[in-house]
Amino acid sequence: MIASRNLWIGAALTAGFALAALISFIWVPYDIETLNIAERMKTPTGAHPLGTDHFGRDILSMIMVGARTSIAVAIVAVCIGMGFGVPLGLAAASNRGSLLDELIGRGNDLIFAFPSLLIAILITANFGPSAVNAIIAIGIFNIPVFARLTRGSALSLWQREFILAARVAGKGSARISIEHILPNVLNLLIVQGTIQFSLGILAEASLSYVGLGAQPPVPSWGRMLADSQTMISLAPHLALFPGLAIVLTVLGLNLLGDGLRDLLDPRLRRDRG
């Protein structure tokens, strides 16, 4: 019961923000590139449901366009993490204890010692800040997450008799990894994917907040918060709505992840009777 409620609330919140991002490509309430100093720092009204910022831009429109940045950065970062992490995890598991396995394990440990913020700092120190750097930093940090998850569950699958049966049928480890292991870890990957997606949104917001992420004029929720900070005592709503947007998106993705886990994990399903 609770599981499916989580799933629906999560799906609705996630879909809501995804939709807002998509709509922003064709329509936003106000153009965010036009500054309107006369209308600056207005509290929420009928014309501007979420108010305006210090340049008189409509905050609702800013949040809609900012959703694009957040979602794009997080999706690409998850894809990088899965694209490298899953094959590495599968390869490590199929050669358990080998040099390759050892190397992948050590590499993972090493990346875990560099939180995405430090990776972003290193990249920025070289190439200057940008949204692309944020994507790379978050993506690199996602690789060991997926590699470990894949390796861990693949290892237990390799012990199962159906893998032995496939080997008796003459199948090699690459083929077995794709045909038998991957479909059986897919559920876990989907669940972890939504969680990393939400962590990606949080990380992108943090990086933009400290100036290591998307640069002006690309709008982003993190920078909206950074901009609002000096004016927080005058206009708290400037800080409130972008923050709420982050919280609701991340909450939605986490609920979706929990719901999917309950739905997809047969162990839990049996548990519920």
């Binding site: 440990d109 560099f114 913020l117 070289n126 918060l225 927080i232 919280v247 986490n254």
Partner: protein, 315 residues
């Protein structure tokens, strides 16, 4: 046990070496000429040459790496280009803000998370459990810097209990220093506590389903006794893993939170250095942070062995 510790020590050393190579490569090799980069596009060739000499860039790359690492080992982090002072001194000063901040936050999040997680697990499905799950679900979703801004709004601007930022220095007394770190530590700790409480709860629930818990109940232990005597220590194994991981997030989080509260810690230092292109400082601070993370993970590995006899004695 000795063998286990030795093995971990060797892997600690390897991690440090590889991390230093990665950082060195990222800062001093990939960008080409660090001196030209630091001085910007308008620099005169002779200024660049002077800086190259000053940074020791005129020697081969391998020698430079060993000079740098050799310096780190004896506490010589080089000289900041912008401030013309020893990097070690700059770090030392700021470490006394960042380190207490991270430690207070870690302690706080553990102190909150453990009882809350245990309560939720031991009364699974109760009102308390549902509340804990709801609140922590929200806590996980809140970005710590935004939470910090809200705290400033409420406790500094409206209630005026705390100052909105800045640090008086430890010279002003322990109380003044701790007071300045209170809001930053809370805003770091609460989101982390939410994660940790959830992990604690699910690790305990997993353990409660184990066969040996049934054995304990069959001996005549009450539910509560079985939980405290048998489940808790077993649940610590996954919880320790998360605490280790969290420390690295706390370090990163501290860097960001220092920005919200204008604390002159390592985080401020690193962003100033980036904007001033002072690569020497960036390099050393990043290395220091990575060293701290690796060290904490070593400590977590040792803690595993303390908790789990299977790691202490191999058959």
């Amino acid at each position: 046990m000795v063998r286990y510790v030795l093995k971990r020590l060797i892997s600690l050393a390897i991690s440090l070496v590889v991390a230093s190579v990665v950082i060195f490569a990222a800062i001093e090799v990939i960008p080409g000429d660090p001196a030209a980069f630091m001085l910007g596009i308008n620099a005169q060739p002779d200024t660049i040459a002077a800086l190259r000499e000053q940074l020791g860039l005129d020697v081969p790359m391998f020698q430079r790496y060993f000079n740098w690492v050799g310096g780190l080992l004896v506490g010589d982090f080089g000289t900041s280009y912008t401030y013309r002072t020893e990097v070690a001194d700059m770090i030392g000063e700021r470490l006394w803000i960042s380190l207490p901040l991270a430690l207070i936050a870690l302690t706080l999040s553990t102190l909150i998370a453990f009882p809350v997680g245990i309560l939720a697990a031991s009364r699974r499905g109760s009102v308390a459990d549902v509340t804990v799950m709801g609140v922590t679900q929200l806590g996980v979703a809140v970005p710590n810097f935004w939470f910090a801004m809200l705290m400033v709004l409420v406790f500094s601007i409206n209630l005026r209990w705390f100052s909105a930022g800045g640090f008086p220095g430890w010279d002003e007394g322990l109380f003044a220093g701790l007071k300045a770190l209170t809001l930053p530590a809370i805003s770091l700790a609460l989101p982390q506590a939410s994660i940790l409480a959830r992990v604690m709860r699910s690790a305990l629930l997993d353990t409660l389903g184990e066969d040996f818990m049934r054995t304990a109940r069959a001996k005549g232990l009450t539910r509560k006794q079985a939980l405290w005597r048998h489940a808790l220590r077993n649940a610590m194994i996954p919880v320790l893993t998360i605490i280790g991981l969290q420390f690295s997030f706390l370090m990163a989080g501290a860097i960001i939170i220092e920005n919200v509260f204008f604390l002159p810690g390592l985080g401020r230092l690193i962003f100033q250095s980036i904007s001033q292109r002072d690569l020497i400082v960036v390099e050393s601070v990043v290395m220091l942070l990575v060293f701290a993370v690796i060290l904490i993970n070593f400590a977590v590995d040792i803690a595993y062995a303390v908790v789990d006899p299977r790691l202490r004695r191999s058959q």
